[in-house]
């Protein structure tokens, strides 16, 4: 009898330990708070210290101090092969897109305007301009060749996008028909950041489509040597704006975003780490994280919530909230004056399970706070949430934005010819 009791106690002790692993490390864990971590059971929760493949990230409201739940990093651009460089701060760390895009109006970390002479990419002699599509805006601007340096990693002579209309004012109708061009940090249609560091699961920003001739070409790339600009058929995918990580000579198969857990009320500023490479160095092993492979076309996976499966889910550090389902499904009301966010009467603690195309699954605990009651002086919240009606084939789904990342190290595995794209945590 006594032996059985102590076995039972031992089991309980082990379970408690497993849950606490999701609670994060360091000073940001709140004692006794069950919502200290957005993800209840993550394999890794500590942040790597400074190294060649590690760069600092910060969640601090952005260059204008008004951008909640966005993580930023510094990126250095150099005229290829030279030490003529500028470092741009507050570039959005984005696992939901691919490619480095810098606002031509951004200032560097010393406050000086971007003044590097970066040559425009040429395709069959034609200088390239791109209209890249995002969910609520497009980015329009020239594709230029640059060295990209982050921490001790360098992508040499790769295509990035400079965003802004001043040099290329005649935006094609096909571009604005997909969305409104973002061209500034602030104001209407402002990005809220100095640029976007797209480090998602694809190696470039268009795949095979932009190399196809004729109607099969989605028409993202143009040359504006003529007026109007003409759609370009690229010769190869290497001419597309690249996921900078894919272009590193090493530590180039993916990344880890490492952010600490937050107190229930949030925080004004949080520091973390962005690690390059998965399983390439002693500081970037999977260490028991569950790999969820993604659909190779859509990058989607499935989320099960209260017994119902929803396809079309994805993990996106560039989304500034946990956006999932609808009021009709969850019973959580939208905020009266801001229907992009939920406003439950009190914070709700929920659980869901994510299922990869490979058949592996991982549970996730998360919280939904009343958006209107969030502390206006804070910039980081693990429970900022809203609806995601989705549809267009998939219906409502889960957009696991930055709140998912607090207290949970998230791996993004980049697709190769042999490896499927994946997220792991």
């Amino acid at each position: 009898m006594i032996v059985s009791k102590s076995l039972l106690l031992g089991l309980v002790g082990v379970l408690t330990l497993a849950v606490a692993c999701g609670g994060g490390s360091g000073s940001s864990s709140a004692a006794g708070s069950s919502s200290a971590s957005a993800s209840g059971q993550c394999a890794g929760t500590t942040q790597a210290s400074q190294a060649n493949n590690v760069t600092a990230i910060v969640v601090d409201g952005g260059p204008l101090g008004n951008y909640s739940d966005a993580a930023f990093a510094d990126v250095t651009l150099c005229v290829p092969g030279t030490s003529n460089c500028q470092t741009i701060g507050h570039v959005l760390v984005d696992t939901g897109s691919e490619g480095l895009r810098i606002l031509s109006s951004a200032a560097d970390i010393a406050g000086s305007p971007l003044s590097l002479s970066l040559t425009q990419e040429l395709v069959n002699g034609s200088p390239v301009v791109e209209c890249a599509q995002f969910l609520s805006f497009v980015t329009w601007g020239p594709v230029v060749m640059t060295d990209v340096k982050i921490a001790g990693e360098t992508a040499s002579d790769v295509p990035i996008q400079l965003v802004g209309l001043s040099g290329f004012p005649d935006v094609p109708l096909a571009c604005t028909n997909a969305g409104t061009p973002a061209e500034t940090v602030g104001g209407d249609n402002g990005l809220g950041s100095n640029g976007i560091l797209g480090i998602g699961p694809f190696p470039n920003d268009c795949g095979a489509g932009c190399t196809e001739p004729g109607a099969a070409n989605p028409g993202l790339y143009y040359t504006c040597a003529t007026n109007p600009c003409q759609v370009l058929t690229l010769s190869g995918q290497s001419q597309e704006v690249q996921n900078p990580v894919s272009s590193f000579p090493k530590d180039n198969n993916g990344t880890i975003v490492e952010l600490p857990a937050l107190p229930a009320a949030g925080a004004a500023s949080v520091s973390g780490a962005l690690v390059f490479g998965i399983g390439t160095q002693s500081n970037n092993g999977l260490n028991g994280a569950t790999i969820l492979t993604l659909d190779k076309e859509t990058l989607d996976f499935t989320t099960s919530f209260k017994g119902v499966s929803y396809s079309g889910s994805f993990i996106d550090s560039g989304s500034n909230g946990l956006f999932f389902l609808t009021t009709a499904i969850t019973g959580i009301p939208e905020c009266k004056d801001e229907n992009d966010f939920y406003c439950p009467a009190s914070t709700e603690a929920l659980t869901a399970t994510n299922l990869g195309v490979n058949g592996d699954s991982k549970a996730t605990s998360f919280s939904v706070a009343n958006f209107d009651n969030l502390n206006g002086n804070f910039n980081a919240f693990n429970d900022m949430a809203g609806p995601n009606a989705g549809s267009g084939g998939t219906g409502p789904s889960f957009d696991w934005g930055l709140p998912f990342f607090f207290g949970c190290n998230v791996f993004t595995g980049i697709e190769t010819t042999t490896a499927a794209p994946y997220f792991a945590y």
Partner: protein, 151 residues
């Protein structure tokens, strides 16, 4: 393939770029059925209780569905695929302008689009190369048909 000017029965002029013309939200289906021959786009029609769904896939991969009343009025559209379709064409000039207007005063942040106005609903989700969206005019949904059917 190429540019082609086409005159519609109502006297409207439509610029038909192969593979990228759909009926606009609130418009009639007639124009699209007439253009189908030139489009080289796969088209399926599904009949449901009280409405029909006309599905087309653009050559670049995105699937567009148009939901039409028995009288042939398009009351809802959805899109699903790697690239955003021509929203001005899909929503029509008026609804497209309403859509752009509704996005003006947003705080910085990337999140799903959820525009719910009495005369227009536009909801979009996804990320680059994986967009899911729908738009409909609440007042045009036929009797007995749920908005949830538009997906």
């Amino acid at each position: 393939m190429g540019w082609r000017l086409r005159k519609l029965p109502a006297g409207l002029l439509v610029l038909a770029l192969s593979g990228s013309v759909w009926a606009e939200l609130g418009g009639g289906l007639n124009s699209v059925q007439a253009d189908q021959a030139q489009l080289q786009a796969k088209r399926q029609v599904l009949q449901a209780e009280g409405y029909s769904v006309h599905e087309m896939q653009a050559p670049s991969g995105t699937v567009v569905r148009e939901y039409a009343s028995p009288a042939g009025t398009v009351f809802g559209v959805t899109w699903n695929g790697p690239f955003i379709p021509d929203l001005r064409q899909l929503l029509g000039a008026q609804h497209f302008a309403e859509f752009q207007q509704a996005q003006q005063s947003r705080r910085p942040g990337r999140h799903p689009i959820d525009i719910e106005q009495p005369g227009l609903v536009v909801q979009m989700s996804g990320r680059p190369r994986s967009f899911h969206g729908r738009a409909y005019v609440p007042g045009l949904i036929p009797q007995g048909v749920e908005a949830a059917a538009i997906r």
